[in-house]
Assembly symmetry: C2
Homo-oligomer: 174 residues x 2
Amino acid sequence: MRDKEATKAKLLDAALEEFSQYGIAGARVDRIAATAGCNKAMIYAYFGSKEGLFDELLKIQVDRMIREVPITPEDLPGYAGRLFEAYLVRPQLLRLVAYHRLENGFSEIPKAEAEAYKHKIEAVAKAQMEGRISAAFNATNLLDLVVHMSILAFSTPNATRELVERSVRRLIAE
Amino acid sequence: MRDKEATKAKLLDAALEEFSQYGIAGARVDRIAATAGCNKAMIYAYFGSKEGLFDELLKIQVDRMIREVPITPEDLPGYAGRLFEAYLVRPQLLRLVAYHRLENGFSEIPKAEAEAYKHKIEAVAKAQMEGRISAAFNATNLLDLVVHMSILAFSTPNATRELVERSVRRLIAE
DNA sequence: CTGTAGTAACTAACTGTTTGGTTGCTAGAG
DNA sequence: CTCTAGCAACCAAACAGTTAGTTACTACAG
């Protein structure tokens, strides 16, 4: 039962639930510790502060999403659909990012995410340059639109993967 | 200086700033009272509780938005553009709604908003039935998509009104 | 005088964070 | 192998500050 990494993992699991449900301001450190089944002093030993815990949690989740849903510049509808599906299966990340954005704005986006986004824009731009996909929008706008469509579930409970994919297909139609 | 309505208005103004910036959980009652330049007890006299204040505020803001940006079923790109512009000029409402949705989900949507949304869906459906606009999506999905595009600024700082309008035009292209 | 808008002072509960001490594992002396 | 010193992991309790909400009172308009 005395396992640093296991304890950190349990805290991160509990934090994902808590932060995604209540936001950063609404999250309670006591509740996270209780859910994780360990003492809240551990949070301060391993993550420094409530915000430190959130930051590390967000980084891990974003990294995971970037890894699990790679971009396919030649199939943007599919990419949007897969992103949408990932958010549907584990809605916590979408909520985590939404809370983070509301509380910190665009300026404080995690480095890993910003970096990955830059690469994605370049990949889209390359595909456009080579004429493999629509150039109706510039690469930045196009990727912004595709990603925005993937979070359709944030706007309506009627969102489906098929609707997302169909929408993106129309956006990039020649 | 002894004016109930003026005091309520000042509190609501201050509450709009506070809630849109910090969310419901993050908002501080003391700060709202200080910003409004009146006593904290007034919040409880006029709105019952912090949540009561938020609810009334949200209702007022939503009503105002519904009044100021009426739907134009035969010009959905324009409608999305006007909505986008309204959110750009006063970003507080978008943030208010986002926080409310994160904390309460879709089920607790204010009655006025739900009612107005139903009427809009019917208006869109009518326009589709009469062949005045695209029937590529059913009315509910179509309106959901249009509204979703209008909050593009939530996803990216690169959003512009022109981008929103162009996107909707593509979504409803025959 | 009467009723209501407004206030300062207050409280009980809760917040993130720290502290002082305990527990259980393990390396190394005997 | 046995014992124990050292240490990292862990915890209960307490800390100081903050929170939403209340109350007893004052002052002013009609």
